[in-house]
Symmetry: C2
Subunit: 313 residues, 2 copies
């Protein structure tokens, strides 16, 4: 299988997600080039380390660069920047693009595939949904906190040959990966959990998953928010059953005092992906005619809370 697509791979956004997937692909023998900023010197010297529940993976030598000009054209670009930094892609991506380069966004929420498609053409764009919990614990050191999987799909079309080739490369790297027929449906399914739990972790003042579930009132608004997400998806033609939302509540009990990624961002003083996770789903749902009062109030509160934080900086 080697030599064929995905071929030469660039990773843009070498935080936890980028280093985890890119690092395991490199470990499996793929030709992976990391764009790095703050961690560049450390990774050049010490390589990358990925602590997983099973074995630890150490890559003593990693191909990394301080600019995408140094990397040059690739066959596949993994995009793992925070969505709040998407504008930087206008500068970062062009040096990586050949005529057939595929762009695979591993970012959260809605609107990322559209961002790429508008600028570099819909046919290049793929999306991946990551169901993993990983943290960058030090420069070049990634901790894989919990099992997880990745779903890969195409932008506005069914899975194609390259979709399966990327999934296969990830599988060879030891990652549970699958190609999905409808990427947008999967994004909405993921939002059913992310919108309430990530949002309430900030709006309800530091509520972990266990805190949301333990408080009958907060759990009730989490479930109500899920109803709004279902209504938005439905208005857009993506049918997700009520029982799926019930199951998202049920399965969360086993997570304990888990901190959603937005809560970690918030606690670390990092930007929170307000538009991708709450703004864009709300806008798309309302534009399709859905009534989304709970989602609106959460979105507006998230905007306000994060704006205050920025002003405080």
């Amino acid at each position: 299988m080697k030599g064929a697509f995905p071929g030469r791979i660039a990773v843009v956004g070498s935080g936890a997600v980028g280093c985890y997937f890119g690092g395991l692909l490199a470990h499996a023998g793929e030709d992976v080039h990391f764009l790095m900023r703050s961690d560049l010197a450390v990774v050049r010297e010490r390589g990358l380390t990925i602590h997983t529940k099973g074995e630890d993976v150490h890559l003593p030598k990693v191909q990394c660069a301080g600019s995408t000009e140094e990397i040059g054209p690739c066959d596949l670009v993994l995009i793992a920047l925070k969505t709040t930094a998407n504008q930087a892609l206008e500068r970062l991506l062009p040096p990586l693009l050949g005529s057939h380069t595929a762009l695979l966004t591993l970012q959260n929420g809605l609107g990322n595939e559209e961002f790429l498609a508008e600028r570099w053409g819909a046919e290049r764009v793929m999306g991946g949904l990551c169901f993993v919990c990983i943290n960058r614990t030090a420069p070049g050191v990634i901790a894989h906190v919990d099992h997880g999987s990745i779903s890969i799909g195409e932008f506005r079309r069914p899975a194609a040959d390259r979709t399966h080739l990327v999934a296969a490369a990830l599988q060879r790297a030891g990652i549970e990966a699958q190609a999905v027929a409808d990427l947008v449906l999967e994004r909405w399914r993921k939002l059913v959990w992310n919108i309430p739990f990530n949002g309430l972790s900030i709006a309800a003042n530091g509520a972990t998953v266990a805190d949301v579930l333990a408080d009958e009132g907060v759990r009730s608004i989490a479930r109500g928010l899920m109803d709004d997400v279902l209504a938005a998806a439905r208005a857009l033609g993506y049918e997700i059953a009520d029982s799926f939302a019930d199951y998202q509540i049920e399965r969360s009990y086993s997570m304990g005092p888990y901190k959603p990624s937005s809560m970690l961002d918030w606690e670390a003083g990092q930007p929170v992906e307000v538009e991708a996770i709450w703004g864009e789903p709300w806008r798309q749902g309302v534009a399709a005619g859905a009534s989304l009062p709970r989602l609106e109030i959460l979105y507006r509160l998230m905007q306000r809370l994060t704006a205050i934080r920025r002003n405080d900086d």
Copy 2:
């Protein structure tokens, strides 16, 4: 008019509201007795001072007591405790009650008349809605920050003779007071403003009235919350026009960076009246069949935020 009702008056809850109305009534010659706790010694020595926009009122000698047993039976009891302290009334009120004693609650939100009626009989109960901005700036010193009025009504019946007598006594004391035909309707009308602006002042992290109005998103959820209040009132048979809600937004522009009372409570580390202002209106509206998703989410967030605060104490 003197000698007739309201006759002997007790003030229970001698914070800003109790001292302001009770003080002006005493200044006008009414027989007013204040129940005091922390301010008792200071007020016995220095009396009460009320700074208003016009003239300052100083009462060098005030009838005050450290227990309601000392005060004994009265004709009218003004209740100006925080609603979060309502349970204390079970102990405080009985010594003040004669066979015909009227109980006038000046407290915020819904449920206070019901609380009194269940324990001491519906026929005793009156309610007052205060549209004033007053602060206690020091023991025995009240600042009347902004003009205002008070509306007096009966519990579950139209205005009666005593309603007009209390309103007249307040007018003689220089207070803009009127008897209202339907107390509950007036309470709901007041909630149209209080529910969004008091709530968002805390849930949107320190948003003054000006902050809510300046942020298009937050203003939009304020107006959406008003729609929920109108829907709750309507389900209970109280018709309030949409244009009234629009007007509540419009009139708020002149308030500037005004801090709603709940925000002052919150900043001072005092209990916030979550159940009276958000919980009871939500419960009553839902019980009457209204769909109140925005109010529910705000109520649940207020519960959670204030519970965390209490746990931090």
